[in-house]
C-alpha cells in the first residue's frame, strides 16, 4: 500500500463475541463503543469516511480467523478491534501480520500476545493477565493472604492466568498450595471444586477463570460458606459479573480493573453517555473492555490522522509515538512489544449497604501506576521488541 488512505475509506472491524459468555462484557457494547469513538471523531479522517463493521466470532478460533481473512481480503478492513477471548486473538495475529493490518485487542488477556507470539501490528490495549495477577496477587499477599489455591479454567487463558499469579504470589513471599483445573466450557456445578479448595486450607482462593465460570464458582463458594473462613480473589472480574452476582454474593471481592465508570468526571461523563445511548438496550454501564475499545479506536484514528495514511507501519509508528490521554488512560504508552501500558486500579466490591444504587459497585483501593501495573519490555519475551 502506498501513502494516503487506501481505497478512500478507513474501515474498522469489531470482531467479538456477540452471543456467547462474553457478549455482555464485550459484544454489542464493544461495537457501540467503537461507533461512539468514530462519531466523536467526526466520522471522517483526512477527509475520508470511517466505517465500522462487526461480526460474531462465537468464541471460535476458526470463525475468528475466517472472518478476519474475509474482511481483509474482501472489504479492505484496516483494523481489527476487540477480539475478546485469548484463543480468537491468537488466531487472527498471524493473519494481520501476514496481511499488514492492525489489531487493537481489548478483550483478550494472555501475555503471549505481546510476549513470545508478538508481532509488529498488534496492540494489546486494555489489560493482560500479568497486570491482573500482579494487581490482585501482590496486593492480596501484602495484606497477609500468603497461602493460595487456584480454581482454574482448563484452557489457555485460565492456565496462563494461574501461572502468572503463582509467580507474583511466590515473588511477594506467598506460597501456592495447589490448584484444580475444571473443563470449560461445560462445568456448571463448582461445589466439588469449592470443597477441594476448602480442604486445601489456603487463605486465598484465586479464581483463574472468567465470565459464567467466575459467577458460578463465586456463587458456589459463598453458598458452601467458603467465604466465612477463606477469601476469594477474582483474577478477572468485570463489572457485568458483579451485576449478575448481586452485591449480596459478591461483596468484599478483590479485583483489578483498567477502568471503572465512577473513577473521575471524565469517565463518569463518557460512561453516562454510553449507558444512555439508544443502542445500549440493556442500559448497562461500560465494562473495561468496552471502554478500552472506545479509547483504542480513538487512539488509532488520531494516529491515522497524524500519519495521513492508513498504512499499517506508519500508523503503528504514530500510535507508539503518541501518548494516550482520555477518560480511559492518562499518559498511556504503547511499547515496541505492542502492549499499552497505563494505570490500573485495585478495587473491592462494596457491601449492599455501602452501595448507593445500581452500578455503584466498586471501592477503588489504590491506583497502580503504569510502570508497576504492566511488565517491562525486557520482562516480555517479545523477539521484535528486544531487537529494537
Amino acid at each position: 500500500q502506498g501513502k494516503g488512505i487506501s481505497d478512500g475509506v478507513v474501515k474498522l472491524g469489531v470482531l467479538t463475541d456477540m452471543t456467547g459468555y462474553y457478549s455482555d462484557l464485550a459484544g454489542p457494547g464493544s461495537v457501540l463503543a467503537a461507533k461512539m469513538a468514530v462519531e466523536d471523531f467526526g466520522g471522517k479522517v483526512d477527509g475520508k469516511p470511517i466505517q465500522v463493521v462487526s461480526a460474531d466470532h462465537q468464541l471460535k478460533a476458526d470463525v475468528a480467523s475466517n472472518t478476519a481473512r474475509k474482511w481483509i481480503d474482501e472489504q479492505q478492513v484496516d483494523a481489527l478491534v476487540d477480539l475478546v477471548s485469548s484463543s480468537t486473538a491468537l488466531a487472527v495475529m498471524p493473519i494481520v501480520n501476514e496481511k499488514k493490518r492492525i489489531a487493537l485487542f481489548s478483550g483478550p488477556g494472555t501475555t503471549a500476545i505481546t510476549g513470545d507470539k508478538c508481532n509488529p501490528y498488534t496492540v494489546h490495549y486494555t489489560y493482560n493477565n500479568w497486570a491482573l495477577a500482579n494487581g490482585t496477587g501482590r496486593e492480596v499477599v501484602e495484606q497477609g493472604g500468603k497461602s493460595w489455591f487456584f480454581i482454574t479454567a482448563d484452557y489457555a487463558f485460565g492456565k496462563s492466568l494461574e501461572e502468572d499469579t503463582s509467580a507474583v504470589v511466590k515473588a511477594a513471599g506467598g506460597k501456592v498450595l495447589g490448584s484444580v483445573r475444571f473443563p470449560s466450557p461445560g462445568t456448571t456445578d463448582f461445589s466439588s471444586y469449592v470443597l477441594q479448595a476448602q480442604s486445601s486450607g489456603a487463605q486465598i482462593i484465586g479464581l483463574a477463570n472468567a465470565g459464567q465460570d467466575t459467577v458460578n464458582s463465586i456463587k458456589a463458594a459463598t453458598e458452601y460458606g467458603l467465604t466465612k473462613s477463606q477469601k476469594l480473589a477474582g483474577l478477572l472480574i468485570f463489572i457485568s459479573d458483579i451485576h449478575s452476582l448481586g452485591l449480596q454474593t459478591a461483596q468484599g471481592l478483590y479485583a483489578t480493573t483498567a477502568f471503572y465508570w465512577d473513577h473521575d468526571d471524565a469517565s463518569r461523563k463518557w460512561a453516562k453517555r454510553f449507558q444512555s445511548h439508544p443502542d445500549n438496550k440493556k442500559k448497562a454501564m461500560p465494562t473495561m473492555v468496552q471502554a478500552g475499545v472506545y479509547s483504542s479506536v480513538r487512539h488509532y484514528l488520531e494516529a491515522v490522522k497524524a500519519a495521513h495514511t492508513d498504512d499499517a507501519d506508519a500508523v503503528m509508528a504514530k500510535m507508539r509515538e503518541l501518548p494516550v490521554n482520555d477518560f480511559f488512560a492518562q499518559n498511556g504508552r504503547i511499547g515496541p512489544d505492542g502492549l499499552h501500558r497505563h494505570d490500573m486500579y485495585l478495587v473491592q466490591v462494596k457491601t449492599p449497604k455501602e452501595s448507593k444504587g445500581p452500578w455503584d459497585y466498586y471501592k477503588i483501593l489504590k491506583t497502580i501506576p503504569a510502570s508497576q501495573a504492566f511488565p517491562s519490555v525486557e520482562a516480555q519475551k517479545c523477539p521484535i521488541a528486544v531487537k529494537k
Binding site: 455482555d24 462484557l25 473443563p183 466439588s192 476448602q198 449478575s244
Partner: protein, 287 residues
C-alpha cells in the same frame, strides 16, 4: 478420606438434580418417542421466568416454584398442539431436529432480551445457612434440592408405572392410530404428557436458579449430560433414569476429585460402554 465423603455427598446432590432433569426428558423420550432437545432451553426458561417474576412482579421463590412450571408447561402444550404432534409418526430424528431448532429460538430470544451475563437470584430466607457435617458444610438449600427432587421423581414414577396411563402411553407411541381405535383420546394424552414433562424441566430450572447463574446459556451445558443419563438408564424407563441420574452424579463427583479434566467426558464413556453391553440401557426393556 474426609474429603471423599464430601465428594460423595456432592455427587448425590448433583445426581438427584440430574434425576429431576432427566425425569422429564425420559417421560417425553420414552413415552412420546420424541428426543426433546429443547429440554435444556425449557429448563433455562423456568429459571428465567422465576427471575422475571421476581424482577418485575416481586413474586418470590415459593410461588415461582409453581408459577414458572405452569407458564412454561403451557408454552409446551402450545408447542405440542401446534407443531410437535405432526412429528410423532416419523423417525425421532425429526423430533430431535425440530426441538433443536426450538432451542435456538428460545435461547436466542432470551439472549436478545436479557443478555448472557446472567442475573442474581437469592436463596429463599428460610433455606439460607446450612449444617456443619463432620466432613463438610452442607447448605440447607442443597439438602432441600435432594429431598424435593426425590419426592417429585418417585411421585411421577408411581403415577405413570402404577396406573394404566403408563401402558396407554407406551402403546400409544407404538401405534397411536390403533390405540385411538380402541377409544383412547391419544392426542390429548400426548399433549398432557409433553406439557408435564416440560413443566418438570422448568421446575428443575427454578430449583437451580439460586445456585447457578441464571442466563440463557445455562441449559446448553446440561442437555447432553441429561441425554446420556436417560439413554444409560434405558429410554422410557423412568425408574432407570432416576437411579442412573443419581449414580452418574456420584461417579462424576468422584472424577472431579481424582481427575477433573475427565469429568466432562466420563459420562459419555460410561454411556458407550453400557450400550455395548446392554443394548437397551441398564433398565430399558428390549424391543
Amino acid at each position: 478420606m474426609q474429603a471423599l465423603f464430601g465428594q460423595l455427598l456432592l455427587g448425590l446432590i448433583n445426581g438427584s438434580f440430574y434425576a429431576l432433569l432427566s425425569l422429564g426428558l425420559s417421560i417425553i423420550f420414552g413415552l412420546l418417542n420424541v428426543v426433546n432437545f429443547a429440554h435444556g432451553a425449557l429448563y433455562m426458561s423456568g429459571a428465567m421466568v422465576a427471575w422475571l417474576l421476581a424482577q418485575y412482579l416481586g413474586i418470590g421463590y415459593w410461588p415461582a416454584l409453581l408459577l414458572a412450571p405452569a407458564v412454561v408447561g403451557l408454552v409446551g402444550v402450545v408447542i405440542e398442539r401446534t407443531m410437535l404432534r405432526r412429528l410423532y409418526q416419523l423417525d425421532n430424528l425429526y423430533g430431535l431436529l425440530f426441538t433443536f431448532g426450538l432451542t435456538l429460538v428460545i435461547e436466542g430470544l432470551f439472549h436478545e432480551q436479557y443478555g448472557n451475563s446472567g442475573n442474581p437470584y437469592p436463596v429463599p430466607e428460610v433455606l439460607q445457612g446450612g449444617v456443619r457435617l463432620p466432613f463438610m458444610y452442607l447448605p440447607e438449600y442443597r439438602a432441600w434440592v435432594v429431598v424435593v427432587a426425590m419426592i417429585v421423581c418417585f411421585g411421577s414414577w408411581l403415577v405413570i408405572e402404577r396406573t394404566k396411563l403408563g401402558s396407554y402411553l407406551r402403546a400409544g407411541t407404538e401405534n397411536p392410530r390403533l390405540v385411538q381405535a380402541f377409544g383412547i383420546n391419544v392426542p390429548l394424552m400426548f399433549t398432557i404428557t409433553y406439557g408435564f414433562g416440560v413443566a418438570l424441566a422448568a421446575f428443575a430450572g427454578v430449583m437451580a436458579a439460586p445456585i447457578y447463574q441464571v442466563s440463557p446459556g445455562m441449559g446448553s451445558n446440561l442437555i447432553m449430560v441429561v441425554f446420556a443419563v436417560v439413554v444409560i438408564g434405558g429410554m422410557g424407563s423412568i425408574l432407570g433414569s432416576i437411579l442412573t441420574g443419581v449414580g452418574l452424579g456420584v461417579i462424576e463427583g468422584l472424577t472431579r476429585y481424582f481427575y477433573p479434566p475427565a469429568s466432562s467426558v466420563v459420562i459419555f464413556v460410561i454411556m458407550a460402554l453400557v450400550l455395548l453391553v446392554r443394548p437397551a440401557g441398564l433398565f430399558g426393556r428390549q424391543k
